[in-house]
């Protein structure tokens, strides 16, 4: 692989299961040393792309090269270059954190001294020293994710895949993990990240691709994408269902959540726009009001004209 060759080159990638199309022709180029985020809701095809790029799944049609190797013909080359942290923890829960890292070091064929040093360094860096000799099954969600990432990094891959790395984590663990990922980026590692959170893509990625129903519907920097969704949204929580439905009828473009009695309306971020929304509302029927920054739902609404939901009744395979 030459220095100028992109870390990931994908063109015309498809994947389907019977009649069900998961990827409908994806083109994707990730230059070496950059961070690319695939943003999309559940079922958009993010994990399928990661699984194909990491040789877990055979591609349908299209060309896929990772680290310069063809995933179909040269999977061993791909595997030697990559590290993967998936959304389901890929740790051995019966082993301790130290043993898990040692297992990875041994499988990466590090010599004894290098392996021992690498394990010690990673335990310290991932804040796992105190828990190092406890079984991983006793770890918290955040600790498991950190161990998982440490196991991915001990082999020093040039390219790492992070499939929803912070799904299910509390805000503190999430920020901690972001910090670790940023250190890797600073070391020049290429990262392909999938996420449902615009904020996460925004925090970490150089470029973001928005994936919808197996297609990339938009691509650009976080700033470019946000320019397309200027204002975010206004959420109004009602005290009763009648108030909610009355307001919903007046704002057909809003999305309604009956369970929380909340109506979420797109907003252009201007005071005038906010005033127009508030104009129709009564003080006594409203329990709460939030003005939110643009999130994935807003990006989706702006780019596809509908809410970011998994395709109904289609349980897309992981």
């Amino acid at each position: 692989m030459t220095a100028t060759r992109p870390a990931i080159e994908v063109s015309g990638l498809t994947k389907s299961y019977g009649d069900h199309t998961v990827l409908a022709g994806v083109d994707l180029t990730v230059p070496a040393g950059t961070v690319y985020a695939l943003l999309g809701p559940n079922g958009a095809g993010k994990t399928t792309i990661v699984n194909i790029l990491s040789t877990l799944l055979a591609p349908g049609d299209g060309e896929v090269r990772v680290a310069g190797f063809d995933v179909r013909r040269e999977p061993a080359g791909v595997r030697a270059a990559i590290g993967v942290t998936g959304q389901f923890s890929a740790i051995d829960e019966l082993l301790t954190g130290r043993e898990n890292l040692r297992l990875m070091a041994d499988l990466a064929h590090l010599d004894r001294v290098t392996a021992t040093t690498a394990v010690t360094v990673l335990l310290a860096r991932f804040d796992l020293v105190d828990a190092a000799d406890r079984r991983a099954q006793t770890y918290s969600g955040g600790m498991k994710r950190r161990l998982d990432l440490a196991m991915t990094l001990i082999t020093r891959p040039r390219l790492i895949f992070l499939d929803e790395p912070t799904a299910g984590l509390d805000p503190r663990s999430r920020r901690q993990l972001w910090g670790i990922v940023r250190e890797q980026i600073a070391d020049g590692v290429t990262v392909l990240l999938t996420t449902q959170y615009l904020e996460e893509a925004d925090q970490l990625a150089d470029r973001i691709g928005v994936l919808d129903r197996g297609r990339l519907v938009a691509e650009g920097t976080a700033a470019e994408l946000k320019r397309r969704v200027p204002g975010g949204h206004v959420s109004v929580q009602f005290t009763d269902a009648a108030g909610l439905f009355a307001a919903a009828a007046a704002h057909p473009q809003a999305s309604t959540d009956v369970e929380t009695l909340t109506l979420q309306m797109p907003s252009d971020g201007s005071i005038a726009g906010l005033r127009r929304v508030l104009h129709d509302l009564d003080d006594d029927g409203v329990a709460g009001l939030t003005v939110g920054a643009a999130d994935l739902d807003d990006v989706f609404l702006a780019l596809t004209g509908r809410a970011a939901e998994a395709p109904a009744a289609e349980d897309v395979p992981a």
Binding site: G83, G86, L103, D106, L107
Partner: protein
């Protein structure tokens, strides 16, 4: 390049397997207890009556003769019992996320399975020694010399290797851990329809032919010859041949199941 590291990766995976056994000892204890229970049951509950039916002794044998008669079969059951546990542990392992990680790593592809098989063979070694010690404790004595016992242990290890590749395949083929614990049960049943517990001559025609020609019978006959210090005959070559065939088929089946591109 991954082929260069088959031995090293397999050793790493064996280490992982042995750590699992240490962390989860109850399964191993259960698997060793099983053949010991059969031994006690057959010797003390059935042994008096069944011993009297043994041929070759004037007026039939006694409980002690029956202990000597069934010990080889019990040793075989020990191997089958540990192999059964490997189907469960393989199926359990396949449900864990780390298997997907192994698949994305540039390692010897089958090393995780080899780790299970080698671990099972080592566990079988321990289990056989424990069960044999119990048999001795109950009064098993024979004319077998060290060479006979060495031969018996060698054959038991070979059988363990063969049956484990088969049960690894069953563990991979099972859609759940429960299934994996049921499919290999025939390994525990088949020895009963062999020369393990009664001489095949006592069985009705049809069943007798089955018992005489099924693969486990030459294995048990050879084990009996080795641990009682009598001469092994052509059964030895059938025993080795069957074990090699089962090992090969089990390996190829497991390999195919593990390397197939996951459907999901």
């Amino acid at each position: 390049m991954s082929t260069t590291y088959i031995a090293r990766d397999s050793a790493t995976m064996l280490k992982r397997n042995l750590l699992h056994v240490r962390r989860y000892p109850s399964l191993s204890i259960m698997l060793v207890a099983q053949p010991i229970l059969f031994l006690l049951l057959f010797v003390y509950v059935f042994g008096g009556t069944l011993g009297a039916g043994l041929p070759g002794q004037a007026g039939g044998g006694d409980r002690g003769d029956y202990l000597v008669f069934i010990t080889p079969g019990i040793l075989f059951l020990t191997v089958a019992s540990v192999a059964l546990g490997t189907a469960i542990s393989t199926a359990t392992d396949m449900t864990t996320g780390i298997i997907a990680r192994f698949r994305t790593m540039n390692i010897a592809r089958l090393s995780v399975l080899t780790g299970h098989v080698l671990g099972a063979v080592i566990r079988t070694g321990f289990a056989v020694v424990i069960v044999a010690a119990v048999a001795f404790g109950l009064g098993f004595r024979s004319d077998a010399g060290p060479l006979g016992w060495l031969g018996a242990i060698g054959l038991l290890m070979l059988i363990a290797f063969a049956l484990t590749w088969l049960t690894v395949g069953m563990g991979l083929a099972a859609d759940s851990v429960e299934t994996a614990s049921n499919t290999p049960l025939f390994l525990m049943i088949l020895p009963f329809v062999s020369s393990s517990f009664v001489p095949t001559d006592a069985m009705p025609a049809g069943l007798r032919q089955f018992a005489e020609y099924q693969p486990f019978t030459p294995m048990i006959n050879t084990l009996r010859a080795l641990v009682t210090g009598t001469r092994t005959d052509s059964d030895l070559w059938f025993a080795i041949g069957w074990a090699a065939l089962i090992a090969l088929l089990g390996y190829l089946w497991s390999r195919r199941l593990f390397l197939r591109v996951p459907a999901k």
